[in-house]
């Protein structure tokens, strides 16, 4: 099928705004699960305010959080898709334009600056931003675009450790626990703790981001990774950091693990966290039209 870049542009604009306003149902359920088990009255209070905020954002058609984040677009292209008369470059330009239009037309706070001059173009765009990842899927029909406005409070707490093979899985577990302790309330807990294991240094950090932004209730495809997710999810909530770092059982919705094979000399582990405003939105574009989801 042939997709008009204008459609991609409109979808990219719409997705940024939707992601900022409507929290995915799995995250809402995640709040309910935590609130049902929370034993601290302070933490119950904090969770209650967060849950109230979700409904106020929907009722007032407002943003959940002031942080418009770093815009990330994950695009999955199915078989035989073409963009206008062009290729992937038309696709990237259209996403960028959509992101810029959302910022100007809603309007949204542009949180993006040049890293050295700190100049803000007020477009939510800059060199290499929005972050765009493009992948292909054999089975898929049409195009799926996922948008993630990644908040900076959680992003500022990101870690990579090139552990040694001799340190084994123990190094990975210890690292995750220590990252949660160091983050305290700065990452806006309860968080989704994304753990990347293996690969190269850059792939490892990327895997941690994929893990942190995956829907709650999903599991690592690798059985060993899935086992580790369960163990770590229980462990981190025994630390008592709690929502906002004010104490309680609800430190994390879950620990998610993504892994890749690595070198015989390497044992890399990365942690990237997603705050409780775990925002994402998606759209599927097929011959039948555009369908929005999460």
């Amino acid at each position: 099928m042939r997709i008009d870049p204008k459609t991609i542009e409109n979808v990219s604009k719409e997705l940024y705004i939707r992601a900022l306003k409507i929290l995915p149902p799995d995250v809402k359920r995640g709040f309910d699960t935590l609130a049902a088990k929370e034993t601290s009255s302070t933490a119950q209070n904090v969770l209650g305010t967060m849950i109230k905020n979700i409904s106020i954002a929907e009722a007032t058609d407002n943003l959940l959080c002031q942080d418009t984040g770093i815009p990330i677009y994950n695009v999955t292209i199915g078989r035989g898709v073409q963009f206008g008369d062009g290729d992937g470059t038309a696709l990237k330009a259209a996403i960028r334009k959509g992101c810029e239009r959302a910022t100007r037309e809603h309007p949204l706070r542009s949180s993006i600056v040049h890293p050295l001059t700190r100049k803000n173009e007020h477009t939510s765009c800059g060199i290499g931003v929005p972050v765009i990842h493009i992948d292909h899927a054999d089975a898929a029909e049409g195009v799926r675009v996922e948008m993630i406005p990644k908040g900076s409070g959680s992003e500022n707490n990101s870690w990579l450790k090139m552990a040694l093979p001799a340190e084994g899985v123990d190094a990975i577990k210890t690292f995750v626990v220590d990252c949660v302790l160091d983050a305290g309330g700065k990452t806006c807990p309860p968080t989704i703790i994304g753990v990347g294991i293996g690969g190269t240094a850059d792939l490892c950090v990327h895997l941690a981001k994929i893990a942190a932004t995956r829907a709650l209730g999903t599991q690592c495809a690798d059985p060993e990774g899935a086992k580790l997710e369960t163990e770590l999810s229980e462990a981190v909530n025994m630390l008592g950091v709690g929502p906002q770092g004010l104490g309680g059982d609800s430190t994390a919705f879950a620990v998610h693990v993504e892994l890749a094979a690595t070198h015989i000399t390497m044992n890399p582990v990365a942690v990237n966290m997603q705050c409780h405003s775990a925002r994402r939105a998606s759209a599927t574009i097929t011959d039948a039209g555009v369908t929005y989801g999460f």
Binding site: T49, L64, C65, Q66, D170, V177, G184, G185, L239, G247
Partner: protein
């Protein structure tokens, strides 16, 4: 645990009356301040025409909409979504804010460190925790953007908000050396070895 309804500006005695775990609701005026604002003020010699003495500042950079100036929107900015950012990045600015400008209350999320706690003790101030990521709710406590200074730093300008029933906020750091964050951190680190043991790891 006491609830305080405070109309800004407040006195040193009012700031010192606040104790960790008390709650506070603020009325009248609140200033919004951020990384770039304070870098400009304390590293680059910029000054503000606002009198911050006895006031509360909140770590924020709001989403705003440009509108025609009117009595409701005197600055030509209407609030869209106003929330709170992580305070820890701005740790080194607490003391100069209090010393040079007389600020009494800092509102933020995630807490501040030892230098800020010392400044609260010596100069008479407190840190009020707001629930981060609940900006849609917070926006309903803000009546208007009354004024703005250093607006070339937009969105990290120095904002003056007119507020009503802003809170409840939780006193998380006080002028008596109390810090909820330190207390939680100490307890959590005490549990580290036991938590690692459940994972089959002998901690070093």
């Amino acid at each position: 645990m006491t609830h305080h309804d405070l109309t800004t500006p407040i006195t040193e005695a009012q700031a010192r009356a606040l104790r960790v775990d008390d709650t506070v609701t603020l009325q009248r005026t609140l200033y919004g301040i951020r990384d770039a604002t304070q870098i400009a003020m304390f590293d680059r010699g910029r000054t503000t025409r606002f009198d911050l003495a006895g006031h509360a500042v909140i770590h924020t950079a709001p989403n705003v909409k440009k509108v025609a100036p009117s009595p409701q929107h005197p600055t030509g900015y209407a609030p869209v979504c106003i929330g709170t950012t992580t305070s820890a990045r701005m740790e080194r600015f607490t003391r100069p804010l209090m010393q040079h400008y007389g600020v009494r209350l800092v509102i933020g999320k995630g807490g501040l460190g030892a230098a800020s706690l010392a400044a609260f003790g010596e100069l008479g101030g407190a840190y009020l925790a707001i629930i981060g990521g609940t900006a849609a709710l917070e926006t309903t406590w803000i009546e208007a953007i009354e004024d703005v200074d250093l607006d070339d730093l937009n969105p990290e300008s120095l904002w003056r908000f007119r507020i009503r029933d802003f809170g409840p906020l939780r006193v998380a750091m006080d002028s008596h050396g109390g810090s909820l964050y330190d207390a939680v951190d100490v307890k959590a680190r005490d549990k580290r070895a036991a938590v690692l043991a459940t994972l089959g790891v002998k901690s070093r």
